[in-house]
Symmetry: none
Subunit: 275 residues, 2 copies
DNA sequence: CAGACGCTGTAATTTATGATACGTATTTTT
DNA sequence: AAAAATACGTATCATAAATTACAGCGTCTG
């Protein structure tokens, strides 16, 4: 079972007539992007007619052109997810023999921050650092600890930070305290929890600014969120990894601390004195 | 002159209405492949209608959808051309590479696992997976969330997992339940907490096997611990980073799950049925 | 509270894309 | 060298995709 389209091609290049071979060569030379464009583009680039392209694709075993494009996209998706697994590039310089799960985790963190812009972080931090707003935090079954971690730090650098804890009914009642100036920071990865969605919906209805940290498949809460950060969670293990979300949380904490530098320094000093 | 589409998006995300922002978030989360599919696919994935996608694209400054796709393809082409420049061809080229704090975090994780031997992990997992023992978990001010996270997972794959929560007096009383067969998993980084040290000492006196996950300066609890894992926590920020500890926890969870594969599968199945 | 504005989805419209039929050219075979 | 078979391109068709028009809805504003 040939896995990649490129493999398929090199396997059957021999049996192909001249025109189709030109198509094959063009595709390999611009792999795989030319295959994602239209048949017309592809045919022009290859210097053949569009039916030739279609025959070529059909010879590869695909029933129609979109099916062929879907295969290319899937490959590309897999490649972009884990750049290190590319067959062409195998840099492994000194990172040597850490376990695959750890490597995947590191890659997830990197990849996550590739998709998060500075501006996004700054915008969220601006919300978090806004002195007059109250901040509520909550997470799902496995991510709630990350929410707690974040809360533990934020509560030191600024007032009015509350982690929504305990029974669902308990924090549902806290909705009454939330208003337009306030911020709800939610961590939610699949399988997404209905209870969190309901909370987000109601909070949104009250005008609360919702910040969502989720996985790359986006929790349905994204619908109500002002800001969404999508972290990578896939690792070769029975569980998803929340490490990337954890690092996102640390990044937010770090930036918020810098933002609130003077105030937080004062708070910390006062706290020390209270011991 | 904004070069990348991702950059464009993060620049204008703020001015966008809710629906278009959802589109933006979905695109960023699956960058850039979802943008190469059809408008219908994109809209469905984002949970909005196709006109919203078109308006979103138009707001980014493109005159039509194909033009937008062409821009994405050009980016992708540049990226695929020189795989090694993946890190340099970034959505936000203004910061060069990932922020120093993130880089330090990644380095910490890697460094941590360089010093942790497979045997160490295996020994600890053997303890955790021992069916007859009860497992208690606890952490310090900032690391307790990591303990909770670990507990949340372990409690799924095996019985008798307890996170020591609430007041110090509460968990001190749980000491009475701890015996020689049991395991106490402690997370503690500086500034080390006296309360945890006292707990560890007493548990040790009762013959409990203590596993300590700490920072590289080793919590005093190490004196009582059967196994110690020292993670790196230093980052250029106001706070220490617990990310390495978090990944250590995930590694333990992952290995324990594999170890208890058959039993945990059965438990998970039963749990599903109980819904 | 009424009116205006802006956002969003449904449905109709237009565009362009993939697929097919057929005739011509090219190669292969005897 | 002639006939057969295969390959290829032109022109046409069907269909799927992008686009536009419009109406409903919610949200701010005076």
């Amino acid at each position: 079972m040939a896995s990649s389209v490129a493999e398929l091609i090199s396997g059957r290049m021999g049996e192909m007539p001249a025109g189709e071979r030109r198509a094959a060569q063009t595709l390999i030379a611009n792999y795989p992007l030319i295959g994602l464009k239209t048949v017309a583009d592809f045919s022009q680039q290859a210097g053949v007619s569009s039916p030739t392209i279609l025959r070529f694709v059909s010879r590869l075993g695909f029933h129609n052109y979109p099916e062929f494009q879907a295969a290319l996209q899937d490959e590309l998706a897999a490649q972009l997810q884990s750049p290190l697994s590319r067959t062409s590039v195998r840099p492994t310089p000194d990172q040597g023999k850490t376990s695959p799960v750890i490597e995947a985790t590191l890659q997830n963190i990197r990849e996550t921050f590739r998709h998060v812009s500075d501006k996004q972080i700054r915008d969220i931090v601006a919300l978090i650092a806004r002195p007059r707003s109250t901040i509520f935090l909550i997470g799902g079954r496995f991510t709630d600890p990350v929410a707690r971690y974040t809360a533990a730090h934020l509560t030191i650098i600024r007032p009015n930070v509350f982690h929504l804890t305990g029974q669902e009914s308990t924090w549902r009642d806290r909705l009454i305290d939330m208003g337009k100036r306030d911020v709800l920071l939610i961590f939610d990865i699949r399988r997404y929890q209905d209870s969190l969605l309901r909370l987000a919906e109601k909070a949104h209805a009250r005008g609360v600014e919702i910040v969502l940290v989720t996985d790359q498949w986006l929790s349905p809460i994204a619908r109500f969120a002002r800001h969404v950060i999508a972290g990578r969670t896939a690792v070769p293990s029975a569980w998803d990894s929340s490490a990337a979300l954890f690092v996102v949380a640390e990044a937010l904490i770090g930036e918020a601390t810098r933002e609130l530098e003077t105030e937080s320094a004062r708070r910390i000093r006062e706290m020390e004195e209270l011991r």
